[in-house]
């Protein structure tokens, strides 16, 4: 454990805060003291037990549960969704917990209605989230585009399963990486986060909600089926250590308020319906008041604003983990559950003397271009294991430019089974 060198390279305060959370809770002494003193009577309401204790205990928790608790801790007070395996537990828990806290849960008739409902709720001031899987995510694409063009904060959790279509509901796949970026028509940027553990599912759910509020856009949280259904021993950070970003209200007189202000500060004031500010919301390309426009200048300005809020804030948005990379001459680039297999493979490979490391994106979109370029400069070979037919590897190849990309090696699997540590170890030995 001690020799493991893991660092998240990021500089912004919010993330530093989150990093502090994770180090604070990893302290073994702190954890051991607070291992659950069991009270059978309380098992019915794990959440209230969690919330009421200032110091949380180590418990066993599922990835989907962690997402639900993360949503609640981030202040989400509206969920509209259509339950679907393997994301159902998120809806199940929020259906029970939101009403107790004055929030709203609606089971919608389908996923199109779900994304529209959370967008509408957000316009009325709610912090809104929905959870789905591949088939529902496809249906939501139109609505996600609407949330993006109207700059309405909301979060879509997509617990990925085997596809295409309804595929294999209980089997893992990482087939929605590109869809989460390009699924909605009309060239808009995306923020997509990708956890590798139950604890990180909790942390990144909070981060997704925070980023959606900060940048006024639809943020996608991608989970693997295995992460969503997996149970792990986990101690969530105490509520005092959780940083939540809430939108700020405009202070200008109503007739001065522009819903889409060119002056980009984050957060920028955001009025809700019912606050007394008048604004127009449309999926048509619009001016700063929200009214449809066909003027090239205004259309260009709007598209620029959507792009810039991502590209000008890469340092805030991109989070990566660099694991055993210092002396590595072979790097593995993997996200989610595949990164867990890679870490196991790395510890086996290092025992045999091979210098292998892992670069793992926690934010897959915007893509961590700089970190990948640095990796490409420093290692001889990059192995890209993924549960699809080549989505992450395309991005790596994009960044090799004139460099020979024959040293970019794929491991791909789309049969509903995971890539195992041994599969990766075998590939490491092949490329050496």
């Amino acid at each position: 454990m001690q020799e493991k060198k893991t660092s998240k390279t990021t500089k912004n305060p919010e993330v530093m805060q989150e990093k502090k959370i994770s180090t604070a809770t990893k302290s073994p002494a702190a954890t051991e003291d607070k291992v659950a003193a069991v009270n059978p009577a309380k098992t019915e309401s794990k959440l209230s037990e969690l919330q009421n204790n200032l110091e949380r205990k180590t418990i066993i928790m599922q990835g989907n549960e962690a997402v639900a608790y993360g949503a609640l801790d981030a202040g989400v007070n509206f969920f509209a969704g259509y339950p679907i395996t393997p994301s159902t537990e998120v809806a199940e828990i929020l259906a029970a917990e939101l009403p107790k806290r004055g929030g709203t849960f609606i089971q919608m008739e389908d996923e199109i209605a779900s994304i529209c409902a959370i967008t509408g709720a957000s316009l009325a001031g709610a912090k809104a989230l929905t959870a789905t899987s591949g088939p529902g995510f496809s249906l939501m694409q139109e609505g996600i585009g609407f949330a993006k063009i109207t700059e309405t904060p909301c979060v879509v959790v997509n617990v990925q399963r085997m596809g295409p279509s309804t595929g294999m509901p209980t089997s893992p796949a990482q087939g929605d990486i590109m869809q989460s970026r390009w699924g909605s028509h009309g060239d808009s940027p995306a923020i997509v986060l990708y956890p590798e553990s139950v604890k990180e599912s909790y942390e990144l759910t909070i981060r997704a909600v925070n980023l959606s509020e900060k940048y006024r856009t639809c943020v996608v949280l991608l989970l693997d089926e295995v992460i969503g259904h997996m149970r792990e021993s986990v101690r969530l950070p105490d509520m005092a250590n959780v940083r939540v970003i809430n939108r700020i209200k405009p202070t200008v007189p109503p007739h001065w308020y522009k819903h889409y202000d060119e002056n980009q500060k984050y957060l920028s004031p955001l009025a809700s319906y019912g606050d007394g500010y008048h604004f127009h919301v449309t999926g048509l390309t619009h001016d700063s008041q929200g009214f449809p426009t066909n003027k090239a200048v205004e259309a260009g300005d709007m598209m620029d604003r959507l792009r810039k809020k991502i590209t000008y804030n890469i340092r805030d948005l991109v989070q990566i983990e660099s694991h055993e990379m210092d002396d590595a001459n072979i790097a593995i680039f993997a996200a989610g559950i595949t990164a867990r297999a890679a870490k196991a493979a790395i510890s086996m490979a290092r025992e045999e003397g091979f210098k292998v490391g892992l670069l793992r994106p926690l934010t897959i979109w915007p893509f961590p271009d700089d970190a990948v370029r640095k990796m490409l400069r420093n290692v001889e070979t990059v192995i890209v294991p993924e549960l699809n037919q080549g989505q992450l590897i395309r991005e790596i190849r994009r960044l090799t430019k004139d460099k020979n990309d024959s040293n970019i090696v794929s491991i791909q699997r789309v049969n509903g089974q995971l890539i195992t540590p041994n599969d990766i170890l075998r590939k490491i030995k092949e490329v050496i």
Partner: protein
Amino acid sequence: MLKPYEIRLSGSGGQGLILAGIILARAAVLDKHKVTQTQSYGPESRGGYSRADVIISDSEIYFPEATNFNCLLALTQEACDKYLYDLRDNGILIIDTTFVKNLALAADNTYDLPFTEIAQEQLGGTISTNVLSLAFLSKVTGIVSDKSLETSIVESVRPAFKDLNIKAMKLGFKLAEEYDSNRS
């Protein structure tokens, strides 16, 4: 310091293996270990394949699925045939002879008992076969403490089934204690 200990509970849907996995994982947390529990099952709620993996360790667990088991519990012939080859040398094999009639491979540490029949006869139904065999597994491997397993069962099952499952657990412990003396 406990090295990663990989357990696979396998059988068919409806036998309660995933619940058994959760109970075992929760007991391991009570014993202050790190633990991951994953599962694989078909879309059916009964029938079809089902398995639960539990990895218990004191160091960080990277890959959460069991690939090289220290212990395999097989409650059906299909599960036994499918997973036996991934049992590591000297790994512990526990089979339910109610359904597992043939062993494709002889394992050194094999424990065989007709768990389902025993549950039917002594517990009044097959529903607690999972807890019965889990308690047996726990005792044989010593991977979690008896006390933690009991607490975990109480926490994990519905109150109405608490007594039945505690009874099943005690029977499982007893079978494990008597197993050695009977056969060796």
